[in-house]
Structures are given as structure tokens and as C-alpha cells.
């Protein structure tokens, strides 16, 4: 899976905007998008919010978790805990990148937020690598990973699956007679 595909999935999340135009309720297959009145906040998916923002038809309200104090608390909690802490949003990395690229004028202290989110990301990825290493070195059969986001899984997926395949084959060397006659399809 590409990072772009993960970003595409992230654009389905709901964010609040304040439009400056008026439009009646729109009925789409995925759901209804409520009537737009200038000055009144309305919930829309991120793809629509970004499109309207680029056409200068709305103002984006940052989500509740995109706040310097809250992110600092989350970062400190993440550093203290050994396991993965609950995330602000299952797509926090993508939403940060999209919103801060297109709507940084609507979000106060954008640079600090970017740094804090990067810190949280680095801590979580380091924990992920540590747990992958202990998974392989102790040759466990399964591992429980709560609170991981799709983007983090995506970056390590190819490497981890390939190395687990290699390890499986090297392990099957130890049991002679069980590996005869295996054919893969191409």
C-alpha cells in the first residue's frame, strides 16, 4: 500500500468548516452534506473541506486535538509508556500534513504543532521497531498491537513480512521432511 492510498483513506474523516456561501442540502451516495449557511459551522469530510478552502469558500476549524497543550501532554505520555498510547485520531499524521499544508492560516501555532506531531510519530515508530525486533528475536507466534495507525503499519509492513517469511523458511529447515514438495504459483 502506498502512503498516498493511506492519505486517500484519511480524507474521509470529518472536520468542521465555516463556509462563506450558502447552498441547500446536498445528497451524495456516501451521505448527506448539510445545508451551508455563511458564518455557521458545518461538518464535512476532509476532501470537501480542502477543495472549498482552495477555492477560498470556507475557513477550516482545527480539530479539537490539534492544540499545543494537548499534543504536548500526548507526547509526554507516549514517551513514558512502553506500550502504544491511544492516538488523537486514527489518521493524525495525514490530517496534520493536509491541514497544515492547505489551511495553516486557520490554525494557530502551526509550526509548533508540526514539530509536536513529528515527535509523537518518531516515538511511536521507535517503539514499533523495538517490538518488531523482540518479536523476531524471541520467535513468537503472534503479537498484540493496540492503537497503531495505518500509516505506521504501512511503513514497516513490507520489511516485516519479508523477514518473517525468511525466518519461517529457515525454521522449516530444522524439521526435515516437512518441506518437500511445496510449489508456489506464479
Amino acid at each position: 500500500m502506498d502512503p498516498s492510498e493511506v492519505e486517500f483513506l484519511a480524507e474521509k474523516e470529518i472536520v468542521k468548516i465555516i463556509p462563506n456561501f450558502s447552498l441547500d442540502k446536498v445528497y451524495l451516495i456516501g451521505g448527506d452534506l448539510g445545508p451551508f449557511n455563511p458564518g455557521l459551522p458545518v461538518d464535512v469530510p476532509v476532501w470537501l473541506a480542502l477543495n472549498l478552502k482552495q477555492r477560498q469558500k470556507c475557513r477550516i476549524v482545527p480539530p479539537a486535538w490539534m492544540d499545543v497543550e494537548k499534543l504536548e501532554e500526548m507526547r509526554d505520555l507516549e514517551r513514558k509508556e512502553e506500550a502504544f498510547t491511544p492516538v488523537p485520531s486514527p489518521y493524525y499524521m495525514e490530517l496534520t500534513k493536509l491541514l497544515l499544508n492547505y489551511a495553516s492560516d486557520n490554525i494557530p501555532k502551526a509550526d509548533e504543532i508540526r514539530t509536536l506531531v513529528k515527535d509523537i510519530w518518531d516515538t511511536r515508530v521507535a517503539k514499533l521497531r523495538l517490538s518488531a525486533d523482540s518479536f523476531i528475536s524471541q520467535m513468537e507466534a503472534h503479537a498484540k498491537l493496540d492503537n497503531l495507525t495505518l500509516m505506521e503499519i504501512n511503513t514497516i509492513r513490507a520489511f516485516l513480512l519479508d523477514s518473517l517469511n525468511c525466518m519461517y523458511k529457515l525454521r522449516s529447515n530444522l524439521q526435515p521432511g516437512s518441506s518437500k514438495g511445496q510449489f508456489t504459483d506464479y
Binding site: D2, P3, S4, E7, K97, N101, R129, A132, D133, I136, S137, M139, M151, N154, T155, I156, R157, A158, F159, D162, S163, N165, C166, M167, K169, L170, R171, S172, N173, L174, P176, S179, K180, Q182, T184, Y186
Partner: protein, 211 residues
């Protein structure tokens, strides 16, 4: 965005080789020290050290893996294969002590592959060889993971040169995950760039015209 236009066949890592895999074909060219258990008449040209017409019984020579595997049979006693140096007792203790120190590329670029193939030849040390292979892989995994996931946009030749071919493939897949994420974060994932095939072909006249 590095999906390839074709999917190369990967090497079979275990005791079975993949017939169509280039890595396995290159692996099977590795030479093994071998002792003949019966005479090979009129094949003296295979052994360069003596000029005899035949190869007498009990000669020690080197044969490639594909030939040794084909000729080896428990009952008929045509050949007996000795373990190469790297899989013997001495080197095995080195690997068990610290797998990270060893230069696996020098030890034969196909350490894991050849080791798995040696298990076909029913040597009494087979279980230990299998264990050593597995433990070496596990010991070196951490370093391969760290170096592949952290080296972005650098010259990686110093990191890769001590790796075996199997580990090199792992390194590459780790790098591709990292590069994909970094290029997405920089915003390059949504920019249209010319394909490297087209640029290499050098037939694009538009780029010559435009400044």
C-alpha cells in the same frame, strides 16, 4: 511509487530452490569440496590438478552445487560432500558468539541459501547447521532493520557491503518503505515526474526546447 512492471521470482530460502529464480541459479554455481566414492572413467578433464584419463576413487575435488545435488544419493555412494569451511564447527562458534561482527558477503554471498542447500547432503551436523543459520539471521536482523529504516538519501554502500544477498533484499524493501513515506511527507507523491525509462531513452525533444 516503485511498483515494477514485472515481478521477479524470489529465491526459495529453505531447502527447496525456486527453479525460475535468478538468485537460486547463481547460488547453485557455488563450488563444494567433494570426495568421489567411485571412479569416473574418461572424465579426467574435469580435474585440473592431474592429467589422468579417469578420475580414480577417493579423489578430492570441487564440484558446483547443481552437479553435486544431482549426483548425490545415499544408497549408491557416488559422492560424499564435505561441508565448506563456513559451516563447520569453528565458524559456527564464531557465529553463535556474535553474528553482527561477521562480513557475510565475504563468506560467500549466499550464506543462508547455500547453508539451506547443504542440509540435503545428510551430514551428521545438520541440526546444528540449521540452528546456526536461524540464530545468525535473528542476531543480524536488528542491525539490518535499523540501518535500512534510518538511512534516507545517503550513500548506503558502507552499510550494505557486509550483508548477505538475502539480507540485501530485506534492506531494499525496508528502504522502499522509508523512501515512500518520506517522499509522501515532502509532497512529492502527488507531483507528476517523468518516468526514469523515458529519461534514459533520451528521446524527449520537448525538454530540449523548453528552458
Amino acid at each position: 511509487m516503485d511498483t515494477q512492471s514485472y515481478l521477479p521470482v524470489q529465491p526459495g530460502v529453505g531447502m527447496e530452490e525456486n527453479f525460475l529464480s535468478l538468485d537460486d541459479i547463481l547460488l547453485s554455481h557455488e563450488r563444494l569440496p567433494v570426495r568421489t566414492e567411485c571412479a569416473f572413467p574418461r572424465l579426467g578433464f574435469l580435474e585440473k590438478s592431474s592429467d589422468a584419463q579417469d578420475i580414480p576413487e577417493g579423489t578430492k575435488m570441487e564440484l558446483p552445487l547443481w552437479l553435486s545435488k544431482g549426483l548425490y544419493e545415499k544408497k549408491r555412494r557416488v559422492l560424499s560432500v564435505e561441508l565448506p569451511k563456513v559451516y563447520r564447527e569453528g565458524w559456527r562458534t564464531v557465529f553463535n558468539a556474535d553474528p553482527n561482527v561477521v562480513d557475510l558477503h565475504k563468506m560467500g554471498p549466499y550464506y543462508y541459501g547455500l547453508g539451506s542447500q547443504m542440509l540435503h547432503f545428510d551430514s551428521p551436523e545438520n541440526p546444528e547447521i540449521g540452528q546456526t543459520l536461524l540464530q545468525t539471521f535473528i542476531g543480524r536482523f536488528r542491525r539490518t532493520m535499523d540501518s535500512s529504516q534510518n538511512a534516507y538519501n545517503e550513500d548506503t554502500s558502507a552499510l550494505v557491503e557486509r550483508l548477505d544477498c538475502l539480507e540485501k533484499t530485506l534492506f531494499k524493501s525496508g528502504q522502499s518503505g522509508l523512501n515512500g513515506f518520506q517522499s509522501w511527507e515532502k509532497g512529492q507523491a502527488s507531483q507528476l515526474t517523468a518516468s526514469s525509462l523515458v529519461l534514459n531513452y533520451r528521446k524527449r525533444k520537448m525538454t530540449d526546447v523548453q528552458p
